[in-house]
Symmetry: C2
Subunit: 272 residues, 2 copies
């Protein structure tokens, strides 16, 4: 959490709590008595989160958080799901159509949590939506991900290799994901809603665009091989028709802005 | 839990704990260090359990129990799932084929828990199976269920009405369910396994059999109407082929034994 970007005019109040701590969580919810909840916290450190046993704790903590929120008068919840809930053999992921069949503990845990919240929402009379986030990129991410690791090598004048370049994924700037979640919160749409760009892009094209931003195309080697799950992309029909939201950021500009942010952050860190 | 039927020769040790209490649960698991776990506890009081918000707590507590068990050296788990995980519009419920699409919070919570344990088992290197129990009957059940409520009315010489008689369900004596769970525990079969009779029987035929046991057929009115989910029955192919187990009790005898048990229990209670 970075509180540096929060306006100091008192329009936003910060409350810190450890959601994995029963007492902390209950005290927070009973004290704030919010009517709307956006819950994004989870174990998410790559690559460990795919198999982190803490996924089990987050299922329980998330369910207890929403239950406490409902009993304190809350009415609208948006939780964070993932494209990893879907069976990736189908390629195009459509809510309510593409089978949910996660290949990982993270995906299975998110799918489980979303399904219980869907049923609980109906019973408890609260409105619960589940934003299935696709492949986000932007600043403040883990430095081991594709873009920051490419930026680190290429900026240093070192060769970089992009493996699995032939895979198509649905990439979305994190600012767009945040805007989609806010839009979703302000509706009464319930259940799973994909939050993606709706446009499949190859990992190779992402890597080439990063190298191009830095003027280091010659340092990049791209391996176009494809292993499992050649295509994972979102249907954004539900997001568009029911939530009334579409990605607004120009993709190349968002990618360039992310590359610049990482280059600066890494330069600051190197000189610190 | 009834400890009255446990042999007093020391071959079985009882440990009591509140599994919803973090400290109790951890102390139990670390103290016993079992290699096998059969976990049946859940909120199950009819009819409240279908929508009881405590289903959320049991999801979390179950996941934490299995996680603690694995980290204390446990290797084999059988959890209790339910036929209510399936989409009942399909009628015949087959593991891995019939869609999981619970209509209730209970079913959604059980399905979620089973799916996470399946993924966790693969990651944590433990062997986890999920016994999807169908419609059990027997002694020591809740007195509001079909058989005890019919026995109560008919034994007292009062008329009884069986509604929804045209529904076909898969009924199994609870002793058979227990034997199936033990058989499943002794294999390495993982994932969902239906525990049912494989034989659909109408609710009307069950009610008539109860009345017949008591010689009170004339007091029974059966409404053959069917509303939702006319047929819910188990495929027991996986139970038979992979676990090597089939129901062994003769159905009519098991039903009669249950009816006698309830008649005696209700007579004892009335005279107490």
């Amino acid at each position: 959490v970075t509180s540096g970007s929060v306006p100091a005019d008192g329009s936003i109040a910060w409350h810190r709590a450890d959601l994995l701590d029963d007492h902390d969580r209950r005290t927070l919810v009973a004290g704030v008595r919010a009517d709307a909840l956006v819950h994004l916290a989870w174990c998410a450190k790559p690559p460990a989160y795919w198999r982190d046993p803490d996924n089990l704790r987050w299922v329980g903590a998330t369910l207890e958080l929403v239950r406490a929120f409902a009993s304190c008068g809350g009415t609208r919840v948006v939780g964070a799901g993932t494209c990893a809930e879907y069976d990736w053999r189908y390629g195009l992921c459509t809510e309510g159509l593409t089978p949910v069949n996660a290949a990982t503990l993270y995906g299975a845990s998110k799918a489980a949590c979303g399904a219980v919240l869907d049923a609980y929402g109906r019973d408890a009379g609260i409105s619960a939506a589940w934003a299935r986030l696709f492949f986000l990129f932007g600043p403040h991410d883990s430095a081991v991900r594709l873009i920051p690791s490419l930026v680190a090598s290429l900026s240093a004048g070192e060769p970089a290799r992009c493996t699995a370049g032939g895979h198509y994924r649905d990439f979305l700037p994190v600012e767009d994901a945040a805007a989609a979640i806010v839009a979703l919160l302000q509706t009464d749409v319930t259940g799973p809603v994909n939050v993606g760009s709706g446009t499949p892009r190859s990992v190779a094209s992402m890597a080439r665009a990063v190298a191009s931003c830095l003027g280091r195309e010659t340092l990049l080697t791209v391996d176009e091989a494809v292993s499992e799950a050649p295509l994972v992309t979102a249907s954004i029909e539900r997001l568009h028709r029911e939530v009334g939201w579409r990605p607004t950021r120009e993709f190349a500009a968002a990618l360039e802005s992310t590359v610049r942010w990482w280059a600066s952050a890494q330069a600051r860190e190197a000189s610190a």
